[in-house]
């Protein structure tokens, strides 16, 4: 098995045989010619034909890649009409008595060089445009047709580089992937590959003529191509390709569609995220918001307690990039299985039932206030919800709200902008919160059921103890009852209720949750579209009638 590395343009997988795409050999007469006027006429006809070809490519590219990208061909047509370049090319024919081919070869190369010598990367990349139109005019003069170079079988095409016009001319139904030795992420070929979603590797220096005809797989995510991959690798990557295709199909089908049942019951499908780097997945999977942003990352990635400014920037970044979507940020949930040196937490006999989350925050007020101030300041940049974890009593919620209000007053006095529509909610993850749900609902805007801890506490089963597996039932009726009670209590007091634990993504429970009237499911981003599909097939009235 051989491996090549390159700059990946599209994250997908391409599997197929390698076909080396070779430039046509252009034999150019470099000698002195007799009839310059006839050569000038040949040149003018070849340019005119090239302009028509560029306009036709524009039409094709508009359909395949969109107007913005297709415009490169209009630019090519305009370049072909450039008086300076045409005059200097004709000058070579008449002045030096050379063939039209020779004049194009030399004359256009000067312009390509002019661009290649420029500092600006955008302008530098325009040299490829000149070489592209040069190739086209030469082919017209020589009567060559490059469309036969692709072959007739589906393949991963390998070339030194592709000119934009070559990329568009390719038959996409036979194009599995592209690999080039040169090329940059700025090139039009890269842009076209991206917009047509064809896995492509650029600057792959390992390319070798011996690859021609061999089986290969491009792993776009990792920027690698495998030549004659072994069976295990092939199986793994084939599986990923199928998953990608299934996801792509789901996206095509469901992107932008509402998560609503047949009879019109709307469920909000939100994503769980752990940090700013997850924002891309939220958007790519068309999540309608973020139902659980675990703020622990700001603490776990730091060597010392993170300051207000650092936290503010992290929260602001996420809120800004996802606005106007709601982003629910859960305040610090350190303790139990998540410990940090600088927090100086004592070792505990029973950490799951110990000093953690809101219990730390309410006893270390300055620490808590740093986070709340950062959150409030960030609220001005998007649509923020704040959620408190591990709540067991109304008194705790009131205390949290008081401290939050204290922070707000401080910030306003200091001249900061703070949003005035921040939703406040709590995690319902203790049996105590379930039993007090009616009272708690009167204090907050929303509940979010943390089903992992709720299951552990309700069943008194340590979720990290593998020996308890036989006793553990993730669908335990007590847990489902607790969820139902919480939803009903929330609704009695105008509080929306969501699920952000793993059960939320369990497709075998989606119907049950919709029956209860759950308002929101917050799940890992990958599960969003599958759930949306399931929800759109449910008839809630029928479920309730049964």
């Amino acid at each position: 098995m051989l491996v090549g590395n390159g700059k990946s343009i599209v994250n997908g997988i391409a599997i197929g045989k390698i076909k080396i795409y070779r430039e046509p050999e252009r034999k150019i007469n470099e000698g002195i010619i007799d009839d310059p006027a006839a050569e000038v006429a040949r040149y003018e006809a070849a340019v005119e034909k090239a302009i028509a070809q560029q306009n036709a490519l524009y039409e094709k590219a508009v359909v395949e890649a969109g107007k913005d990208i297709a415009e490169v061909f209009l630019v090519h047509a305009m370049m072909l009409e450039d008086d300076d370049m045409n005059d200097s090319t004709k000058e070579i024919i008449t002045g030096q008595k050379r063939s039209a081919e020779y004049a194009v070869q030399v004359g256009y190369a000067n312009y390509a060089q002019m661009f290649a010598d420029m500092d600006d990367p955008y302008m530098k990349a325009r040299a490829a445009d000149i070489l592209d139109i040069q190739g086209m005019v030469l082919d017209n003069l020589l009567g060559l047709d490059s469309s036969s170079l692709q072959g007739t079988e589906p393949a991963i095409l390998v070339a030194e580089d592709f000119a934009p016009s070559q990329t568009v001319k390719l038959d996409k139904s036979l194009l599995l992937g592209m690999i080039t030795i040169e090329g940059s992420a700025n090139s039009h070929t890269a842009i076209l590959a991206r917009s047509m979603n064809i896995p492509a590797l650029m600057q792959c220096k390992e390319v070798d003529d011996s690859w021609d005809g061999k089986d290969a797989i491009i792993d776009g995510k990792n920027g690698v191509v495998y030549i004659e991959p072994d069976a295990d690798l092939r199986a793994a990557l084939t599986k990923r390709q199928q998953e990608d295709k299934a996801k792509e199909a789901l996206l095509q089908e469901l992107k932008g569609k509402p998560s609503v049942t047949i009879d019109g019951y709307k469920v909000r499908l939100y994503a769980n995220i752990g940090g700013p780097s997850d924002v891309g997945a939220v958007v790519a999977n068309d999540a309608e918001g973020v139902g659980l942003f675990r703020s622990e990352f700001v603490y776990l990635n730091a060597k010392e307690e993170p300051g207000e400014e650092e936290q503010f920037n992290a929260y602001k970044r996420v809120l800004e990039s996802l606005a106007p979507r709601l982003v629910v940020i859960r305040t610090c949930d350190i303790g139990a299985d998540k410990t940090i040196d600088y927090m100086n937490l004592d070792k505990e006999e029973n950490p799951a039932l110990g000093y953690r989350a809101i219990r730390i925050c309410l006893t270390r007020k300055p620490f808590f206030k740093t986070q709340l101030r950062a959150l409030l300041r960030a609220s001005a940049y998007g649509n923020l919800g704040i959620m408190f974890p591990m709540i067991i009593s109304v008194a705790e919620v009131r205390e949290c709200k008081e401290i939050l209000e204290e922070c707000r007053q401080e910030l306003l006095k200091e001249g900061y902008k703070v949003a005035d529509d921040i939703e406040i909610g709590i995690m319902v993850e203790t049996p105590a919160a379930v039993f007090c749900a009616d009272e708690l609902a009167q204090e907050v805007d929303f509940f979010s059921l943390g089903t992992n801890d709720l299951t552990q506490y309700t069943c008194a089963i340590d979720r990290q103890n593998a020996k308890l597996e036989p006793f553990s039932d993730t669908h335990h009726p007590a847990v489902l009852k607790a969820i139902k009670m919480t939803v009903e209590a929330g609704h009695r007091h105008g509080c929306w209720v969501g699920i952000c634990g793993e059960l939320g993504a369990d497709p075998t429970l989606t119907k049950e949750f919709i029956k209860y009237g759950v308002d929101e499911l917050s799940v890992n981003a990958k599960s969003i579209l599958g759930l949306r599909k399931a929800i759109r097939a449910i008839n809630r009235k029928e479920l309730l009638g049964a």
Partner: protein
């Protein structure tokens, strides 16, 4: 003769596609339009020369228009630059 200066705000500078349209716009007029950037200059009807000036964001160019329709030409070119760059 009409003369004006213009500072480019487009992050890509005077780039290919709009430069092409600018050239087409310039060709509509009888006047000669010359673009100056630093010690370099070119005729606005020449696309490759115009791109060769490498006008970047925040660069200031001077445009000189000379001919029978210079009044209308300068106004049209100025408006086009402001709209597109």
């Amino acid at each position: 003769m009409k003369e004006f200066t213009f500072t480019v705000t487009d992050p890509l500078g005077i780039h290919a596609r709009p430069a092409g349209i600018l050239v087409k716009e310039a060709k509509k007029f009888a006047s000669k339009i010359t673009v100056y950037k630093g010690d370099k200059s070119c005729d606005m009807t020449k696309l490759l020369a115009l791109m060769g000036l490498a006008v970047k964001q925040n660069d200031t160019i001077t445009v000189v228009v000379n001919g029978d329709d210079e009044e209308a030409c300068a106004a049209a070119v100025k408006a086009f630059l402001e709209e597109n760059f």
